[in-house]
Each structure stands twice: as C-alpha cells, then as structure tokens.
C-alpha cells in the first residue's frame, strides 16, 4: 500500500505505479510509450474524478488529516509576503502548535494566526500534533489585540485535532484560555476571517475561529468532537467513527448547506496536497474577496453584524 494514498485511493495508486513503470521503461528503450502513458494518465484522472465525486464524510475526514496536506506555514509561504513570526504569550511560554505574526497580503499588512502541525516525527512532536496548550491561545489573543490596535485584519487558519488534553494544559487553565478568546473575538474591532484548511477540532478550533466570514476548504472538517470521540461515547465503539462523521455532518459541503460557511473553496482533483500551489491560489482569492467585503464596512456595522451572526446560531426557527 502506498502511504501517499488513502485506503479508498488505492486503485489510483496502482494505476500511478504502472505509469511510473512505463516511464522508466520508456526512458531506456527506443520505442515510444508516450501514447500508452497518455492513455493511462487519462484513465487515472477519470478514476480519480469518479472516486472523488461522491466521498463519504469519513473519507473527507481522512483527507483533512492527510499527512501531505498543506499546513498553515505552507500557505504563509505561498500567499503572503514579508512574514515576521511573533512568539510567546508573555506569561509562560511560546507554543509551537499555534503560530502567528504580521505579514502582507497584496502589500497590505495583516495579522496571521494558525494551528501548525509537523511533517516528520520530530517536528510533529515539537508542534504537539497541532494541539495548542493555553499559552498558544493566549499568544493568539495577544496578537489579535495587537491587530486591533494597529488596525490590521486578522486571518486565522484552522487545522487542529483539538486543544491539548494534558495535565499541564489543565493546570494552566485550558478552558479559561479558550473561553477568553471567544469573548475577545466577539468584539475585536477589526475584521476576522477564519479559514479551515484541515481539521476543525472542536473548542480548540473555535478558539481562533470566531469570525466575520468563515471559509472552508472542500475536504476540511469542522466538528464539536472528533468522529472517533463521538463514536466511542454514543456508539460505545471508536470503530463507528465513520457513522459518527456522517451523523454530525462535519464536512465543508454539509456545513455550507447548514449555513455555517460563507465560502467553500474547491480543492484540486485528488485534494489540496495533489496541487498545493493551485490550492493556495484559491485560498488567496477567497481571502481577498472576503477582505474587500469586510473592509468596506465601518467598525460599528462590522461588530453588529458579527454579534448578530453569533446570536443566529441555533436560534429558534
């Protein structure tokens, strides 16, 4: 099994392996295999289209966690210029699971805040698998308030399994750190745009997710609890995760139907990781559009609109 492909993508992986083989043979011999390769590539594309046409909520969950999926810092490199990373919550530590700093989007200053996962084992551990501790959320809060002072929009990138469930995190007030951010973000006098690029894991995601506009990548998820967690509580078995993912409606497309998402960003065929550059370009377009809309509003309108939006969640129909 090719680790770059998920279980449901294995037929594509097999086809791609064949194409690779033919290429190697073609390089060695004088016979041109380009026609044959072209045919197979067309077949592979069709197969991918077919498989990706109708993904289950669980398959989308797997894609949202794909080890090659672009992370916050990847988008930083491709969308923004002139990034200065800022560190620390000024109280306890710097949390590498949550990054932030000032950068430029189309030359205009913006504040970026996002969860960060690691690629290799060492980096994964250093980034704590994208699960922030209270100091991460407090750093985020500090940067948001700084953005308010310096009149910069806040752009957040959400990609976390959740806030870290550890002894130290509890000791330092994980709940309070999250709650505090929710309160501050509800009245921050600058536009906030949140983009879910991978996993939107519960309160740990929402703690940088209160916003004026929510964008979600096509194969990202946003959920009150992980499908595994939900399954082990309600079905008494983590193996029912796929059913739980479906029941909770955690995919971008379902959440768009339910009215939570403003902009759904289509991913390239096969997912963001198959063409990170194209994905980044689309995220950038969505961000620019969203910023233009929000920056046309005066602060009072913006805040009233944000409050109204928050109050509308689950309001009696």
């Amino acid at each position: 099994m090719n680790p770059n492909y998920l279980d449901f993508e294995q037929p594509i992986a097999e086809l791609q392996a064949k194409i690779e083989e033919l290429r190697l043979v073609g390089n060695d011999s004088r016979i041109s295999l380009s026609d044959e390769i072209g045919k197979l590539e067309e077949k592979s594309r069709k197969l991918t289209e077919q498989i990706f046409r109708d993904l289950t909520a669980w398959q989308v969950t797997q894609l949202s966690r794909h080890p090659q999926r672009p992370y916050t810092l990847d988008y930083l490199d491709s969308i923004f210029t002139d990034f200065d990373e800022l560190h620390g919550d000024r109280h306890f530590a710097d949390d590498a699971a949550l990054v932030g700093g000032v950068a430029r989007l189309d030359d205009k200053p913006v504040m970026i805040i996002g969860h960060q996962k690691g690629r290799d084992v060492k980096e994964k551990v250093r980034r704590n698998f994208g699960m922030p501790r209270p100091e991460g959320y407090r750093k985020a809060c500090r940067l948001m308030e700084m953005a308010e002072r310096f009149k910069m929009p806040v752009l957040t990138f959400i990609d976390t399994p959740g806030a870290y469930p550890g002894i130290d995190a509890e000791e330092r007030g994980q709940s309070e750190a999250i709650a505090y951010n929710l309160a501050v973000m509800s009245r921050l006098k600058t536009p906030i745009i949140a983009t879910v690029i991978g996993e939107g894991g519960s309160g740990g995601a929402l703690a940088i997710g209160v916003c004026d506009e929510l964008q979600m990548l096509q194969y990202s998820t946003y959920s009150v609890i992980s499908p595994e967690g939900c399954a082990s509580i309600l079905w008494k078995s983590a193996e029912k995760a796929s059913e739980a993912a479906h029941a909770m409606g955690i995919t971008a497309s379902r959440l768009k139907e339910l009215g939570f998402v403003d902009t759904l960003i289509d991913e390239p065929l096969g997912g963001a990781h198959r063409n990170p550059r194209k994905t980044a370009e689309r995220v950038r377009e969505a961000l620019s559009g969203s910023l233009e809309r929000l920056q046309a509003m005066d602060t009072e309108t913006l805040l009233e609109r944000r409050y109204g939006r928050l109050m509308s969640y689950g309001a009696p129909q």
């Binding site: 550890g166 689950g314 129909q317």
Partner: protein, 315 residues
C-alpha cells in the same frame, strides 16, 4: 417513579426486593462519599449536602434556583423553548427519542433553567444547568436561554449568576452546539463591557464546551467543594499522557491552587457569600442596612427583607 429513583436505580431496586422494608420507595439515600444512609427530607433540608460528611450531592436546577432566589417574585425566563433535532441525528438511539425520555424523566424542556428574582432583596438573574438532562449538555436551547438571561441582566443592569453542571457541548447538535460556546461568550462580553457583574458557580461536574466558554468567564469563578472541573475529562487525559493523574486532579481545591477559581464556597454559605460580593460590586449596602442609612450612592433598590441579619452584615 420519582426523580430520585432515576438517579439511584440500583438502590431502589434493592429496597423493592427487600420484603422487610416497610418504608416507601425513595425515602432514603446513601451518601456516595461517607456511605451514611440519609433520610431524604432531611437531606433536602440541607440542599443535598450530607449532614454527616458535608459531601455536596447534585441538586436539580429547579431546586437550586428555588433555594438560591428569594421566594418572592421569582419568574422563569424562556421556559417554553423546545429543543429541535436539526440534523435528524441518530446513533444507537434517535436524538428525538433521547430528548423525549430526558424531558419525561426530568420534567424539564432542556438542560438549562433561567429565572429572574432576588437574592436577599438584590435583583438578580440566575441560571442553572440540569445535569440529569442529557448530562447538562449545551445545545441550541441552552445557549439561547443563557443569552436571553444575560441580555435581560444587561438591559436591567442587574447581576447574572450561573450554576454550571455539564459534561460539555451536546454532540447530537454537532456544530450548532459548538457555536453556543461563542454565542454565550459574546453575550457575556457585553455584560463585562457594561460593568454588569457575572458570577459563575462551578458545581460538580463542569467539562468541555461549557467549561471552555461561559463557566470560566465570571468576574468571579466560584466552585463548590470537591467538584470535578476541567477542559478534558480525566479518562481522555490519562489515555493521552499515559500517566496516572495526580491526587485531587481537577477538583475545586486543585483549581483554587492553580488560580482558576476565586473561592470555594460550601452550599450552605453560598447565598450569603455571593450576596455579600454582589452587593459590593453593585455598590449596595450590606443586607439589613437600609439604602438611606448607607454612605454609598445607590440606584434603584428593591425593598429589603424584613429580618436584618447581623452575621451577614459582619462580612
């Protein structure tokens, strides 16, 4: 079947099987801490605090508010709000059926009760979570009721008090329930900016989405003794860190030590302590001193109760 039988089914079953038992069902309850067998009317007289060991047993939301607020002038807020199953959620059971059975067993519409009233004459809005309604979980109705209570407190400029007891967000309402965290926190931020006091009382247990929103945002966070309070549940943490958790982890006393709560107050002292703090925050005289005698300037002040209490004034 009484509400108590639901909570202690095993106990009532043994009673029913015991032919010698001459007492009616559900008149006795064992303290989960010291195991003393307690006479229910006696236990209720002490607001479910064990008279032997002072263990704080859970109290239903309605009993809690009826005890906390003065008997005069209590008025329920948004009591008619009904939960709805927006996602047609179904696990081993339909959410609709879970709601129906929770409503039947608790006689409440959802897991939060809100009331306006007074605390020793001081007008307040108070809300309480009903833990026996699906673990006090926060869905759309809980969030909406909380916001309506907070908005009333804001408009009338009277303090808000919340008694939290909840396992967290209600999974069956998925993202609708997650967003209640942001919704309730936004409403509380308005109170904060307007200088309207909010006291969050943490009772056993408070976790997840409720802990990481409205329950931690009090001007004062107050805990009942020995309540279990945290973000992640102890089992989840144990599985993650693969260590045994320290003694007393996530108990009220642990939170006090780590600076998360302002004070631990036992239930019998709660009315008096909260009243005392709120009267200072709202510049009201101590109970028993009339507004005319007080040196501070006061706004509208409803009539004082007839019986002055020296012990309250001494705090």
């Amino acid at each position: 079947m009484s509400w108590l039988d639901k909570i202690v089914p095993s106990m009532s079953r043994t009673q029913r099987n015991d032919r010698r038992a001459s007492v009616p069902d559900g008149l006795w309850r064992k303290c989960p801490n010291c195991e003393s067998v307690l006479y229910l009317p006696e236990l209720e007289k002490h607001q479910n605090v064990c008279p032997k060991c002072q263990h704080h047993l859970r109290l239903t939301a309605r009993k809690r508010l009826n005890w906390f607020l003065d008997a005069e002038g209590r008025e329920e807020i948004a009591g008619d709000l009904q939960p709805s199953d927006r996602l047609k959620f179904r696990d081993s059971k339909k959410y609709k059926d879970r709601l129906a059975s929770a409503q039947k067993s608790t006689d409440e519409n959802d897991a939060l009760i809100a009331m306006r009233g007074a605390l020793d004459g001081l007008p307040v809005v108070a809300v309480a979570f009903e833990f026996s309604f699906m673990g006090g979980s926060m869905g759309a109705v809980v969030g909406e009721k909380f916001v309506r209570a907070a908005t009333l407190a804001l408009e009338e400029e009277i303090p808000l008090v919340c008694f939290a007891a909840s396992g967290g967000a209600r999974m069956q309402e998925a993202l609708f329930s997650l967003m209640q965290m942001a919704k309730t926190s936004a409403a509380l931020e308005k109170l904060k900016l307007a200088g309207v006091p909010y006291i969050s009382v943490l009772t056993d247990p408070v976790f997840g989405g409720v802990s990481a929103s409205l329950a931690m945002l009090g001007d004062l966070n107050v805990a009942e003794p020995n309540a279990l309070i945290g973000f992640a549940g102890p089992r989840v943490i144990e599985q993650t860190v693969r260590e045994t958790l320290p003694e007393g982890f996530q108990r009220s006393e642990f939170l006090l030590e780590h600076g998360t709560v302002d004070m631990i107050v036992s239930r019998p002292e709660l009315r008096e302590r909260l009243g005392s703090v709120l009267r200072k925050l709202t510049h009201q005289p101590v109970v028993g001193v009339s507004a005319d005698d007080a040196s501070v300037e006061v706004g509208d002040f409803s009539p004082l109760p007839d019986e002055p209490d020296a012990s309250r004034a001494s705090r």
